[in-house]
Every structure is written in structure tokens, then in C-alpha cells.
Amino acid sequence: MDQGAPPPKKTPLNARHRASGARMVAFGGWDMPLEYSGIVAEHLAVRERAGVFDVSHMGEIEIAGRDALKAIQRISSNDAARLEVGQAQYSGLLTPAGTFVDDLLVYRFAPQHFLLVVNASRIPVDYAHIASQIAGIGDAVAVDVSSRYALVAVQGPRSRDVLQTLTAVDLGALKYYWFAHGEVAGVRATISRTGYTGEIGYEVFVPPQSADRVWLAILEAGRGVELVPCGLGARDTLRLEAAMRLYGNDIDDHVTPLEADLEWIVGWEKDAFVGLDALRRQRTAGIDRKLIGFEVLDRAIARPGHQAYVGSNHVGTVTSGTQTPYLKKAIGMAYLRVECAAEGFEFEIDVRGRRARAIVVPLPFYRRGRRGQDLPADRPEPHPKELH
């Protein structure tokens, strides 16, 4: 371990993970489970049945006050005025240059009370950014409440059946990207119909001291459907199949929502927000590179950092890539020069000194309900951008 490196942070479920034999990994300053039974088994369980994840490392920042909406509108790229109380929204926290400080979910708890769920590794940066940006905005205060919440995600086609046995909240009435307050396993909880897997699922906010009780109750309630505990490994492969961006890989403070193909989180009609002017200029000037999805055509797996070429011309960089357990293909996302970004465009990726052919394909790679007859009949999961 590095001299002077702070000890890794632990979620309230850390002891449970270790006692259960999970393989642990350092992630964003946290000691987190990488895998329980194996990434492939966990990935398939979530696609076919259900899995439960500890995502308590995620950060939570509350913004409240008479001018809270005004404050949110200033720091968040998406339009929070469209949110009803009880609704959540994917958005970006941007620098004045229009690049990502972080991506986040914005929950509207009350007309002037919001909860932001942000990436673990970005909590201090996000908080400092938000505090400075809203300083001049009337009556609005931002509080880092990360330590007040544990967060447990139940994901998969059977997740509703499992969670419904533990709560009086009518989960069938909870639409995608809506949330409700109630109890889970006798513990005060906020249940959100969201996730990072592309599957039907729920994220459950509970007090840290009750996290273990809720975790064990979910495992017990899921026994009949063979729900399994899952680690960050499966979370990453699942989110990649669903083409959800990972901060630090696919987006960071060098890229904008337009380059990341996330224009749908840009509230163009808003009066102002941090980064809007830069995005307007970029829209006018046009982008040079764009995040695309690709499939590798040769027998090879592209990994983050691998370089993309057309002949001897460098045309981009891979940001995410793996062999996916469910689709059983080598897929990934990459920034390519815009003239190379059209669907069907073929290029090459330097995979450790050898060129592998790849082709640009539409995102997401996986969409629930479009494959496999083993899934229960339900509407295909809409993309978050279809909700607004």
C-alpha cells in the first residue's frame, strides 16, 4: 500500500461481504465486493432472475431551501423543472467548459427539496463545485448526506416479486424513474425504480445501521427465485451491455454531453446553467469526436485505453470494453472522430500490438425484452431519455 494513502472506506455491508466470501477490490477509495459467485454467473442471474448489489459507496447530496429548484437548475444540465415530486432524472454536473464534473441522478423529494446521487469517487469534488456555484442563489443549501444512506440495488426480471414481499409500497404502480417512501423489511426506506443494469429493478435507500437487516431480508426473500449477491464486476458488464456511461471511463472532465452522445440530458430551453454557453458554441461549431458502440469482429477483446485506427490514421480511443456474458460478444464504447462514427463504419483496434477489426453498432447493445423468451411478459424497458 502507498505510504500515506488513506485506508479504504467501508460501506455498512463490508463485514457482510467479507463474511460471505466475496472477492474484494479497491474502487474509488472504497473496499468493495468485486464478485461473489463469479462475474458471469452474477451477470446472467440479473438478466434472467435477480441479483442484489451493495452500492452504498455512491454519494448523496441534498439541496433544500426556498430557491432549491433555482439552484438545481443552475448546476444540473437537464431540466429539473420537468420533474414532479416523486420523480428522478439522469443529468450532468458540468464545468463552465461544458465537460463533466460528474453524472448523477436528481430526485425531487419535495417542490424545493432535491437529492442528488453522485459517483463515490467524485463526492468531494461535486460538493465543492455545487457549493461554489449556488453560493449566490438566494435560499438554497447543499449538504453532503452520503453517510446517512446505505444503498442496495435489487435488479432483474424477478426483482419486483422479491422486493414486493418485503414492502407495502405498490411496486407495480412505481414507474421507471419514479420513487416512493415506505418501509422495506420493517426499515424506513426510499424505493426508486432505477438501476445501472438495463434490467427492471429498484434501488433502495436505507439508514446505514439497518443495511445489513435489509440485505439479509432481500437474500432470504429472493431464495425462491435464486437471487444472488453481486459485485462491481457484474455491475460493470451489465451497465456496459445497457450502454450506460461510466464516469472515469466513458465520461470525464475532458468530454461534453454532446461528445458523449448524451444530448438528451442538455436542457437547451433552460435560461442558463453551468456549461450551457460552451455547449451552445459546440453545437454551432460541431463536435470532432463522438462516443459510439462497437463490436469486435475478429477474435479479440478490446479494453479501455486501446487505440482505434483506419489504416495508419489514428481515429479514436476505447473507453470501455469486455467480452459480455449475456450477449457473448466482445463489445465496447469508444470515442471516434465524427466522420468514423456512423453505424456500420469499420475500423481497427490495436489490441496489445495486434489489429482487430471492429464495427460501429447502435447503442444500447442490450435492451430488456428484445431477446429471449425466458423473460416474463412486460413492456421493454424505456430508455431514460424517452421519459422526458
Binding site: E35, G38, I39, V40, G233, R299, P325
Partner: protein, 124 residues
């Protein structure tokens, strides 16, 4: 999983099973556990000449890539083609799933390798 006493081992977690001048080469149970779910094995062409310690291919899990190192010098005379279609067999049967067969050019190479007891203590 026990490490077969008939095998020799490297510090890079390959095993080698020598019969006369021929040796099968695979990766150890410890190695497959460290890797996690194996999804891809890249192996050399038959006829390629290897030096001891040289990379002869790679093995990839969902999360990681790892190089395969030749425990001995020699010529690749057989490659386990079944691992192309079923790389996960390395996880379920690491000591049965060989990757290549090498014809040893310098049988004395084997003397430098670890025996099962030495390897077991290394990965304890």
C-alpha cells in the same frame, strides 16, 4: 484443489506435465481463481518455437488480461483448439485443460521449475 505431484510449476502460475521430451502446459488452479471467469484464450500456432520465459499467448477473464509464459524452451507441436469454443473449461478443470504441447529442446529446463510442494507454499 490439490496440485498434482507429477506436475512441475512456475512462479507465473503455469503447470507443466512432462513425458519424455514432450510436455503439456496449462495454468494452475490458483491462477484461474485470480483471473475469475475466463472468456478468451489466445494460443500460438503449431510449429512456433518458444524460449523458456517467453510469452506464448494470453488468457482473458471478463475483467483482466494475463500473459501466458512458456515454462520451457521448445517447439509447439499441439494446441488445445477446444479452448477457443469453451474457454470457461479452464475455470472448471484447470489442471486437466492443457493449452499447448511443447517438444522440449532443452530437457534440463525442467530442473529449474518448482515441484508441487514448493508451488503450494508459494500460493498459500
Amino acid at each position: 484443489m490439490a496440485y498434482p505431484a507429477a506436475f512441475k510449476y512456475t512462479k507465473d502460475h503455469e503447470w507443466i506435465d512432462v513425458h519424455d521430451d514432450r510436455a503439456r502446459v496449462g495454468i494452475t488452479d490458483y491462477a484461474q481463481k485470480q483471473l475469475g471467469d475466463v472468456v478468451f484464450v489466445e494460443l500460438p500456432a503449431v510449429g512456433q518455437t518458444l524460449r523458456a520465459g517467453q510469452s506464448f499467448g494470453s488468457i482473458e477473464s471478463v475483467k483482466a488480461v494475463s500473459e501466458l509464459f512458456a515454462p520451457v524452451s521448445g517447439e509447439v507441436i499441439e494446441v488445445n483448439e477446444s479452448l477457443k469454443a469453451t474457454p470457461e473449461a479452464v475455470n472448471s478443470d484447470p489442471h486437466g485443460q492443457w493449452m499447448i504441447v511443447v517438444r522440449l529442446s532443452n530437457p534440463a529446463d525442467v530442473q529449474a521449475l518448482l515441484d508441487a510442494d514448493q508451488y503450494s507454499s508459494l500460493v498459500k
